[in-house]
């Protein structure tokens, strides 16, 4: 198989996102990740399908030179499920936003996670409705001012990570729109993972919600306010790589290496493959300013996938059943002859 480059995954369509939109970065990361995925897993290009719903992020399939389906609001997850179950040999990617996946499509989202359908969901979280020009979303923070919440929202946001892990998700990762290299790395890990992989991408909406992730994403303090988790590595972060996470009673605590007798040996090692969802939940829930926001692959565990389960039952019955064609079926059970 030829080694693809990002160019083969770029379509001839003009990219119509606003200049400065965080979505550009995610698209670039995906186009750069897919050649690696292809090499690692041996997929040929015609096996990729990119599905989306409605919203700014859902335009992504038009920019990918693969099979694509730009569907209707909220339903991308259900359509992606149908595609994957119908043909498990396809590799299915989904582009969706915080409104698409967590408001109008919330039901499909949690059920795809629960069933562990082998699809890769890139969740563009800009905490706002961009395409309809600036209404709050289910991830907008409590009190957020928007066109439909001129006096601030009076509702709590979803944390996508808690939602995924609460639904016993097998793969959850988080990153920032500008982290091109980390994002491609996460996408490769998601592709390698058999099951429903959710990648939450914190993206900036330059027009309607500019700077929504600024407190953690700004270059100036990103290293101190985020932590990149990698399986098997110490949970260390900070500009000077001197901060870390330890378990303290039932919870996590930020410590400084070298202070109060803390050494590097005390710092937790990330185990993304642990079945225990508790620690993953705590990591996914960490918020600035008490904690650094966790980036990278937070959870990555193996479990049976839904599409394999469906396929296995079909193959099993094909091997076992006396009914091998419709004529057999029509003549099965109680029949009688009129002579």
């Amino acid at each position: 198989m030829p080694r693809y480059t990002f160019k083969e995954f770029k379509s001839d369509q003009e990219v119509r996102w606003c200049p400065g939109c965080g979505d550009h970065g995610i698209l670039a990361a995906l186009q750069r990740a897919l050649p690696d995925v292809t090499e690692a897993l041996g997929y040929s290009k015609e096996r990729y399908v990119v599905v989306s719903g409605i919203g700014c992020s859902s335009r992504l399939p038009y920019y990918m030179n693969t099979y694509g389906f730009h569907s209707i609001h909220g339903r991308a997850t259900a359509i992606a499920t149908g595609i994957k179950v119908a043909n498990p040999d396809l590799t299915v990617w989904q582009a969706t936003g915080d409104g698409d996946a967590l408001a109008i499509g919330g039901n499909h989202f949690i059920h795809a996670v629960r069933r562990n359908v082998d699809i890769n969901i890139i969740l563009f979280n800009n905490q706002i409705y961009g395409l309809t020009k600036g209404q709050y979303s289910p991830t907008s923070r409590f009190g957020a001012i928007s066109k439909t919440s001129p006096y601030g929202t009076v509702e709590h946001p979803f944390n996508p990570g808690s939602l995924v892990l609460g639904a016993k998700g097998t793969f959850f990762a988080r990153s920032l729109d500008s982290e091109l290299k980390l994002n491609s790395e996460i996408m490769l890990a998601a592709a390698k993972h058999d099951g429903c992989s959710v990648m939450e991408m914190l993206v900036n909406c330059v027009i309607f919600n500019d700077g929504t992730h600024k407190l953690i994403s700004d270059r100036e303090f990103r290293a101190d306010r985020t932590i990149v988790l990698r399986h098997g590595e110490k949970m260390i972060f900070g500009k000077n790589r001197d901060k870390g996470l330890v378990l303290d009673g039932m919870g996590l605590r930020v410590v400084t290496i070298g202070e109060n007798g803390v050494t590097e040996d005390d710092i937790l090692v990330h185990d993304a493959h642990s079945d225990n969802v508790g620690i993953h939940m705590m990591l996914a829930d960490m918020k600035y300013p008490d904690f650094p926001v966790a980036l990278g692959v937070i959870r990555n565990v193996q479990d049976v996938t839904y599409d394999d389960g469906v396929r296995d039952q079909v193959n099993d019955q094909k091997a076992k059943s006396k009914i091998q064609c419709v004529d057999d079926l029509l003549r099965s059970g109680s029949t009688w002859e009129v002579k």
């Binding site: 730009h70 149908g82 119908a86 099993d316 094909k318 059970g333």
Partner: protein, 609 residues
């Protein structure tokens, strides 16, 4: 008393009791037994939505009507010759369905003060219900069943569950039915899992038969000769089962895997359940998280190259509307089965109606045409589902197949077809590595070509946005107008590939009776009766609604008046008025959640002659 065996052409038996009394099973067994005996047959289950409604109340009455005959039988019958009423509520709910000459069999043990009170009846229910002139057989069925099984070692609850076998035994005596089939059924059902129940059930059945023979209260018994049917192998089949099998047959003929994404809903669930059984034929079923996911997983599967299906009933179809628009816009093959029930909203879930036609034709945003078809009998659901699939796959369009609760749950004997007599299904697949424009059309059918993921060199994007033939997003006014008209014309041209409308009776005259869907049997019986009375009436029944058969106008043009009968307030007649305004239409409608009565139709024919 002199006992006589009377040969009779047909009889209608209605089994009624509490929803836990096993009346559906009793009725089905009687029906299956009669089918194997060779009678013409039609059944109608009429049950409450509650699985176990309050004991002994009228709202909890579950009924199963069986019509058997020595000739072909096309309806479950209007009124019954025998009513089996397991309690006062069952008698009260069904007294109005008794023929003048009917026999009523009641379980005396349930007609105590408490039972009558629960049913809202006074001390003398027979007078109160005005059925004094019927033959009422009052048998202590509970006591007799208990007595019959006193040495069986079974507990009281299990013994009481055998009551229905006692009544079935009595019915077997009255209608001279051989009981071997039921013995075999009991052995099949309990033989392995609960062998201790086989002999007691058989004993109760036989005791019921003997009791009926001994009591001298039953003056005459009846013999219904086998119908003179075409030779061949037969089976009994319900509409939902036939629908599922028709879909499987189409998948086989198209050499495609079948995918069904559905959410359970009465009365359509049986189709999903049936498909879930037949994985050996490659059927994949997804019990989705909701109706929308049902249709959307199916749309995804269609994009991926399956014969994709979603099944539902009225409220579910409402939920699927937006996604059906997407299927129209992406021009993907999709079969949608709507087993109609009484609406609006939740309506009366277990009762039958034809009130979703407007929704099927018009219930989507934008100019959104799709093929609409209807099945006309339980067994016909097989062909209807097969041809719905064939049209969807060959014309690249969603097809909405309307069946009805009456068809889905009803059953009839079916001469088993051979798959070699069904046509091939050939979807317009694209060729790999050739230039592919997603919305370039076949000049004859206007169907686009189908490129499925995995096909090299045909990568393309589809979606809900308007596009050009090349698949590029476009809001150009002229392009939109062109695509709107092509999508409509594509559906209209399906008329070139479907059978012409047939007329039963003279092909011209004063009155043409018109129907569609599950009313077929009742309408056919009605025109036959009307003709027997010397009335001149012809009959045309529509299996295809959009597009209409290409000769429809020609057929209508030869009649002075068109009388359209349907179980709604006039949805089809108004559609016909819109399509062909020049004809004189009359309408006869019923919206009671119940099938037509043949007598009602005969009355309507008379009024219009």
């Amino acid at each position: 008393m002199q006992h006589k065996v009377i040969d009779t052409k047909d009889v209608v038996i209605r089994f009624a009791g509490d929803s836990g009394d096993g009346m559906q099973l009793t009725g089905s067994l009687f029906a299956d037994m009669s089918a194997i005996f060779g009678n013409g047959l039609s059944t109608f289950p009429d049950y409450p939505a509650e699985i176990r409604a309050p004991h002994g109340t009228v709202s909890g009455v579950s009924g199963f009507q069986v019509h058997i005959g020595s000739e072909q039988v096309t309806t479950p019958g209007d009124f019954c010759d025998l009513l089996v009423a397991m309690n006062p509520a069952a008698l009260k709910a069904n007294a109005k369905w008794l023929k003048r000459t009917a026999m009523v069999l009641v379980d005396a043990d349930t007609f105590d003060e408490e039972g009558l009170k629960r049913a809202g009846l006074g001390e003398d229910p027979i007078t109160e219900l005005h059925i004094e002139d019927r033959t009422i057989i009052v048998a202590p069925i509970t006591t007799l069943t208990t007595e019959s099984l006193k040495d069986s070692g079974l507990d009281k609850k299990t013994v009481e569950k055998c009551k229905n076998m006692f009544t079935l035994g009595m019915a077997c005596y009255i209608y001279n039915r051989p009981m071997e089939y039921i013995f075999q059924y009991l052995e099949r059902k309990f033989g392995k899992k609960k062998p201790e129940l086989v002999e007691p059930n058989k004993k109760v059945l036989k005791d019921g038969f003997n009791y009926a023979a001994n009591i001298q209260a039953i003056a005459n018994t009846y013999s219904i000769e086998p119908a003179n049917q075409p030779k061949g192998l037969y089976r009994n089949i319900t509409g939902n089962q036939a629908t599922a099998w028709g879909l499987l047959a189409a998948a086989e003929k198209a050499n495609l895997p079948l995918f069904c994404g559905s959410y359970p809903i009465t009365p359509a669930t049986g189709i999903l359940e049936e498909l879930a059984l037949h994985k050996s034929l490659g059927a994949k079923t997804v019990q989705a998280e909701d109706e929308i996911a049902g249709v959307c997983t199916a749309i995804g599967a269609a994009f991926a190259g399956s014969l994709a299906v979603t099944t539902t009933s009225g409220p579910g179809l409402s939920l699927k509307s937006e996604a059906l628009g997407l299927a129209v816009m992406t021009e993907l093959p999709l079969v949608v089965v709507d087993v109609q029930r009484a609406g609006p909203s939740t309506g009366i879930p277990t009762k039958t109606e034809q009130t979703d036609l407007n929704q099927a034709l018009y219930g989507r945003n934008g100019e959104c045409p799709m093929v609409v078809m209807a099945a006309h009998s339980p067994a016909d659901c097989f062909d209807a589902a097969f041809y719905a699939s064939k049209i969807a796959l060959e014309h690249m369009t969603p097809v909405l197949l309307l069946t009805e609760g009456f068809l889905g749950n009803g059953s009839e004997p079916w001469l088993i077809p051979s798959m070699k007599n069904y046509p091939k299904i050939v979807p317009p697949f694209a060729q790999p590595n050739t230039e592919y424009k997603p919305f370039q059309r076949d000049p004859e059918t206007l169907a686009r070509r189908w490129a499925v993921p995995g096909m090299a060199g045909c990568e393309h994007r589809v979606g809900g946005l308007e596009k050009t033939h090349a698949g590029t997003i476009s809001s150009d006014p002229a392009n939109h107008a062109l695509m709107v008209s092509e999508r409509e014309e594509k559906v209209r041209r399906v008329a070139n590939y479907i059978p012409e409308l047939k007329v039963d009776g003279a092909d011209s005259g004063k009155l043409l009776l018109v129907g569609w869907g599950g009313t077929y049997g009742h309408l056919l019986s009605a025109v036959q009766e009307a003709r027997a009375e010397g009335l001149e009436v012809s009959f045309a029944h529509f299996d295809y609604i959009k597009p209409l058969p290409r000769n429809t106008e020609e057929v209508f043009g030869k009649f002075e008046k068109i009388l359209v009968c349907e179980l709604n307030s006039g949805q089809f007649v108004n559609y016909l008025r819109g399509e062909m305004p020049k004809f004189k239409y009359e309408q006869f409608n019923k919206v009671q959640g119940q099938p037509f009565l043949v007598q009602e139709i005969v009355g309507a024919i008379k009024e219009n002659l």
